[in-house]
Assembly symmetry: D2
């Protein structure tokens, strides 16, 4: 931590800061600059937030030197983490594609989609049973019935099952049916839920909050890791900006940026990240070109009939074309699908 003092702060303030530095078990070095006094704090106390120092009289600002997360950091683990999803691995040379409908509607529907995406090369099936909906008047999901359909689709195809989890209360039930738990963008800062999935061992796909910084995103991952679950997959899904031509701004630079900061695998959701079907294909290829370890995509047997998927769902035919084009891009960057 570097503490910058206000221009008019005197010896009393400086000494008081030094006292506080020593109180928390750190050492200080006082630097007298041309216009400002600066106090360097020596010692790894990254759990003390900059705000702790900001608030002391005479302090102008406190600048952290270390990242606020530890276990998630690339410094803590140099090699890329690979995560087992049933008999597949996500995070190595192979790019993993997860596909399926936004919401499970029926056994026939989910089986039909599962077979389609499996044939095209997906490694897992996604499908929502508990749906977070912005409007109280919207369809909220089939709940346990949906989980049963998903489990039977796994039996039929061998695909691992991914579904969103909304509450710590649902973990036991949902875990008994599915293989990978997904935390949605609106729950990235639901810390009780992060703790709860941290205490289970299922792989977790953690979606970036739509207004989360990378530090906040990695701290959310750290919550899960620090509660004992090492199987965290980070998912960029678009951020909220002033742009209106897409539902969110899918910030692909997050992928290589995250891969420098953390050893965790990083996947992308171009369906929600754009909200526009015609953009899903190019942004999927773009995701692979920038180094994503996987994609999560919405596929529906008949997007026009689907309330929930909205305008971003691909048909199975769209998905087949995408997979074939994405394979070429993967190969061009030395990966495979």
């Amino acid at each position: 931590m570097i503490i910058v003092m206000k221009p008019n702060s005197g010896e009393v303030e400086v000494n008081h800061v030094i006292e506080k530095v020593r109180e928390v078990g750190c050492k200080e070095i006082l630097l007298e600059g041309t216009n400002r006094k600066v106090i360097a704090v020596i010692g790894d106390k990254r759990d003390i937030p900059p705000e702790y120092w900001d608030v002391i009289p005479g302090v102008e600002k406190a600048v952290p030197i270390l990242t606020p997360y530890k276990i998630a950091s690339r410094e803590a683990k140099k090699t890329d983490t690979e995560i087992k999803i049933n008999d597949q691995v996500l995070g190595g040379k192979k790019i993993g594609v997860i596909a399926g409908p936004c919401a499970v509607e029926s056994q026939d529907q989910i089986n039909f989609i599962a077979e389609g995406v499996k044939k095209a090369g997906a490694i897992a099936l996604r499908g929502g049973a508990f749906k977070p909906r912005t409007s109280p008047y919207s369809f909220q999901g089939l709940r346990e019935e949906g989980l049963e359909y998903l489990a039977r689709a796994r039996e039929a195809t061998g695909l691992a099952i991914v579904t969103e989890i909304l509450s710590p209360e649902h973990i036991e039930l949902v875990s008994s049916y599915v293989d990978v738990l997904q935390i949605g963008t609106r729950n990235m800062s639901n810390f009780l839920l992060l703790q709860a999935v941290g205490e289970c061992k299922k792989p977790v796909i953690l979606k970036r909050g739509m207004s989360a910084t990378l530090d906040e995103f990695l701290l959310a991952g750290e919550y899960i890791l620090s509660h004992g679950n090492p199987n965290v997959i980070l998912c960029e899904r678009g951020i909220r900006t002033f742009e209106t031509h897409t539902r969110f701004t899918l910030s692909l630079s997050t992928v290589p940026a995250l891969k420098r900061l953390t050893h965790l695998p990083v996947i992308v959701d171009p369906s929600h990240g754009t909200g526009v079907r015609d953009l899903v294909n190019p942004m999927s290829k773009g995701s692979i070109a920038v180094g994503a370890d996987g994609l999560i995509l919405e596929v529906h047997q008949d997007p026009e009939k689907s309330y929930v998927d909205g305008p971003q769902a691909l048909t199975i035919e769209d998905f087949e074309s995408l997979m074939s084009e994405a394979r070429a891009v993967a190969q061009a960057v030395g990966r495979e699908i």
Copy 2:
């Protein structure tokens, strides 16, 4: 709903859309413009999202005419809603100020602050017992012990108690101690929590999500209202933008904008909305000048000693000055504190 067709869409697409319009029980009017065909949908089906239409072949975009929320809307209720908080009322001519520490630390602390803010004119005491923290390494609150301290501070001062609720599981416990439940910015879209507080009758302070549009904010309020709880207080607490001189951008135009859209009372949190102690005073006065029905403020007996409050907490002396200055502004705009 107004459905705009793509420039190259033909009779087949138009007829297909018309079929869908009739399917959901609405009537259509087909408009042939100079460059585009447009289909006006007649009938109040605001629960059908624009996405339902966007996805149909030949449709360029669907433009909703009605607001997606009903109960919360000013059209549904013309008069301002006033909400009873114990023996006080929030939402009428009188501006209500809620104050207290970010986190409850001890009985002495909370009593000391409660007495201080009561004397200065606060109508309720805020204090966190369950704390949502960005980092897993930060202090998470005193939990039930904190609730007990709060309840005793109420006995001592008569102030109503406001505390944040993080999970539906906690509602029974928390409700047994406090008078007003607060939903934090990170939980504005935690729909299970919104439903749960909707089924209880305690007044709820709903903070705006830091990247929520006003429609999303009002739909979150609608969740609570539609589950039976009419006592919703909306709270602007700053949005995430590119600005870095404050922690968030406290968008005060939200206050008069909301008051045109809804009958619910609107308060402001200048402490979290700026994250900078020196800005809390001017932004509190600004909030009152633009028409806020109340303020929620962080006050700490010794901000320097407080990890959690961070650099935005006021001392009791700061709070006293603020109240006296705020009173003058309230009077200038025909209100009182």
Copy 3:
């Protein structure tokens, strides 16, 4: 400047940075932290951007300690700057209100408005003669004819004249007619224009770029100041965010934040900052409550007839009410209008 080295950087990199520090005439202090090496650079070289250091091998990031602007800073001048506008002063105890139409349309129009706003208490008349328009198909202003009308309105009312300047080429012409030059939000980073108005002595209203940070805003002011013109008035006019209920997000915390950083007067433009007529009145009062030194407002004799003013222009009656309400708020915060 504080230079943080990468975790794996060795002696060679550190020595190379130290060499560079000495090359620019500074001294270094090497700090060996628990996990990182940090080099403090002693010497006021704020004209060397952080990027200069970032780029050196082994450097993770460079953190500036000093503000990048000098003349504009509160450190350089403790007392508030007051700026003479003809026989009026902007920046002291008195709050100055500037009002008028977006575009000058005719002599009658501008005289009518000038008399109206003068009577209600405005200190200057604004009116556009050269209009920056987003669409090439929109009305671009009356140019010199408009300037003549403005000059005659000054003769008739005694009001000082404020108009926007679009190009260094126009300065001579425009200066010969008007009293205050305005730089619009789209030109805040038009550095040739900033230099040009810096070389003239007329007071300048510099509007914040709609995506400018406060540092960038103050550096734009520094351009003008450093070219010899001390008469700079800063104007907050809203920033671009994800919000859509207003045209821009009018960030009022900028006012007190700027007043801590700079001695220059700060005014607010609630007309463009919201783009919604009904919000202009409350946001004007809010601006005064947070400490603004003035307002700049759009007033039109018949807003419905005006293409350019758009939906934010006040009628003269609206303006009269606003002035009377604003006066009460000004008094409440110890100022006057």
Copy 4:
């Protein structure tokens, strides 16, 4: 245009709107919905902004149906526009890469870089002679001397020359030396400059304003097109968002989104768009994968020695690797470099 009336608007207001519709030469269709009256305006008057209607009493909002730009629109011209840059073509099957230093420093420097990037496959050389700098204390460019160096580098290598233009006054001078004019992000709304380059015939690279919507970006292009210059190349260069791990958020979905809206070629600037050297390579490949027609990149002989390029410039060796990797991605998406 679709005009939505306020819920409480009566016959008088509706008739008044209809009168205004007819006044501008359009026809109206009145729709009586369940909760609202809506007036559809028939006739192509896209030069009348929605604000014209918004302002009329009783109107809630006006929703435009047509894009505000005409010549730039995909409707106006179905085939992709290809632009000749000396003996090269930008916009067809071949992806064009433009590279060079941020600022021209000397003849030797620019020749060295020109030869390096030419050998690696660039089709044009970029280099700044007039530099827009945020700080008045920064280096502002070599001006005409820089243009001379660029022209000689063209003689030596045959590469076309691209340079930024800051002012209409410079066009004659700059045009006499260079082949392509670049409008920087800070000048995207400098309408006088847009007009001036519109009146010349040199190809223009128009960079997106850092807070411009796609409509505003395309309207800026329309300025140039409507003044007679059809050779407009659009360049995405990142937008300002809350993210801090990159200087800007490089929104790659803009590329396929623009290519649906316009026939103009679209290129990407990953150097400024990220501001981080390590991200330039992946984001360049990502740009090609999403369908960009070209790249513009900063290359410097010795980035460490360069004040201006900052931390995003590639070395010539970096550029060579990038070109070889980018070639593979181009091939994977059916293009070539």
